[in-house]
Structures are given as C-alpha cells and as structure tokens.
Symmetry: C2
Subunit: 117 residues, 2 copies
DNA sequence: TTTCATGTGTAGTACATAGGCAACACTTCT
DNA sequence: AGAAGTGTTGCCTATGTACTACACATGAAA
C-alpha cells in the first residue's frame, strides 16, 4: 500500500546491476505486461496491478509473494480460499492472534508443524 | 458462493413467520438497499452484494458475518487487514492449518486464548 | 552515424462492480 | 371497493479495475 512501486523498482534495479536482463522493458515482457504500464506501477502513477501480475512480479524479482501482495493491500486468493472453507474457525483464530507478538505466532506454527493429528 | 441467495431468503422467511417486519421490502429498507435489488439477490439473479451490504444483512438476519461473507466468496477486510500486517507469519500459519481437522484448530484457538504472552 | 534499447507521457478501452428507478401484478387490510 | 403492502421485471448507470496502444526523447552500441 505504501511503497509498492518503490519496492519493485529498487529490487529490479538491484538485480539489474548484475544482469542487464532486468531492464524495465524486459521484465515487463517476461511478466506479460506493457513496459509503459510497469513504468507507471514503479512510479506509483497507478494503483498496484492484479493479483496475477503481482505474483508474476514477485517470482521474477525474487520477492515473497504474500509480502508483495500485502504491500498492494491484498491477500492471496489461495489464503482466502482456506479461510472461506471454514470461516468461523479461521475468523476466530486470526482475530485471536491479532494482537499476539510475532514469536507467539511462530510458536503456534511450530507446534502445529510438529503435531500429528 | 453456492446458495447465498437461498440462505438469505430462507432465514428471512423464517424470521418473518414470527415478525411481519421481515418482509423483503422492510428488510431491504433497513439494510439500505432497494427492495428490487434484494429480491434479485435472494433469487440469485445477481451476484452477492458488497461486503458492507452483506454485513448489514448478516446483522439484520442474525447470521454469522464471516460465514455469510464466505458464502459470497469473500473474506472480511477486517481479517485481511490482520493478515496484511504480518503476511509471512499468517501465510505460514494458515497454510499450515489448511489440512488440519476442525478440532485441531479449535485446540489451537483454545491454547492461544489461555496463553499469556 | 545510424541503429537500437531504454524509460516515460498521453490517451483510450473492455469489462466488472454495485447498485438505482419506474412500473407491474397480486394479496391483504379496512 | 379502495388503500396499502408485497415480491418481481426490465432497463439503465456511475464508478472502478486493469490494463493496451502509440508516440516520444534520451542514451548506449555498432
């Protein structure tokens, strides 16, 4: 939401230092959008693109997909689908963890990973 | 997604049995939409309405908000915001719990509720 | 020096979203 | 019988989403 465009630009230019294939035009082409559009995205002249395009960008620029989506004010449809299948269960869980510190959540993740139901 | 409209209609007609104030027109008015629109919603002639309208309907018809949103293929912006603030943490957690049985998740919720971080 | 690639400005577009408005027929009070 | 309330039909629309297409100026490469 805040600096989606800058994040993209910074990462791309960083990658460009060691590989000329990371020009705006080439990245745009590989991602499947018009260079002019990517230019506007990077300069925040337009709102962040669609989920599909963001995922392509994340992959191309080696950025965490969910983090990039979050910067665009979105949540991946993959996660949404999990929630939608059991709404009250996940709604409770998430709201319960809303104020929890990071390490408490990490703890939960670990417990869950090691549990055998 | 499947029977959003039917759920609304069924619940409304059930409530209407003991209270005439639950006519389609009156409910629509209280919710803040046109009766004609609610009629179409209930008969699935149109796609489910916006999140704001769904929340109003849930409240008016005493249905769980998140469950109703899920039927409409949505996840509340409230939950999304929680996830967006710590994307990788919650993405991991949710995907970890994707296949977990209900009672395992309930267990986690209880543990979290009783824990003091 | 022509060629080529780079980033950018302007304009326009196809489609989806989220409804509103007017009018109709039918039932129910009074 | 008239008035009021009920659900429904058809048509219309404003706003947003997610881009594309074209043209241009600048810098590097041959």
């Amino acid at each position: 939401m805040k600096h989606f465009g800058r994040t993209i630009r910074d990462k791309r230019e960083q990658l460009k230092l060691s590989d000329r294939a990371f020009s705006l035009r080439q990245v745009a082409t590989r991602v499947g959008i018009e260079p002019a559009y990517l230019s506007k995205i990077e300069r925040c002249e337009v709102k962040p693109p669609s989920e599909a395009t963001i995922v392509q960008l994340a992959q191309e620029l080696e950025i965490d997909k969910d983090v990039l989506l979050a910067m665009a004010g979105k949540v991946s449809s993959e996660l949404q689908e999990v929630i939608r299948k059991r709404p009250q269960l996940f709604a409770n869980l998430i709201l319960q963890l809303k104020e929890a510190p990071d390490n408490a959540i990490l703890q939960v993740v670990r417990e869950v990973r090691d549990s055998n139901w």
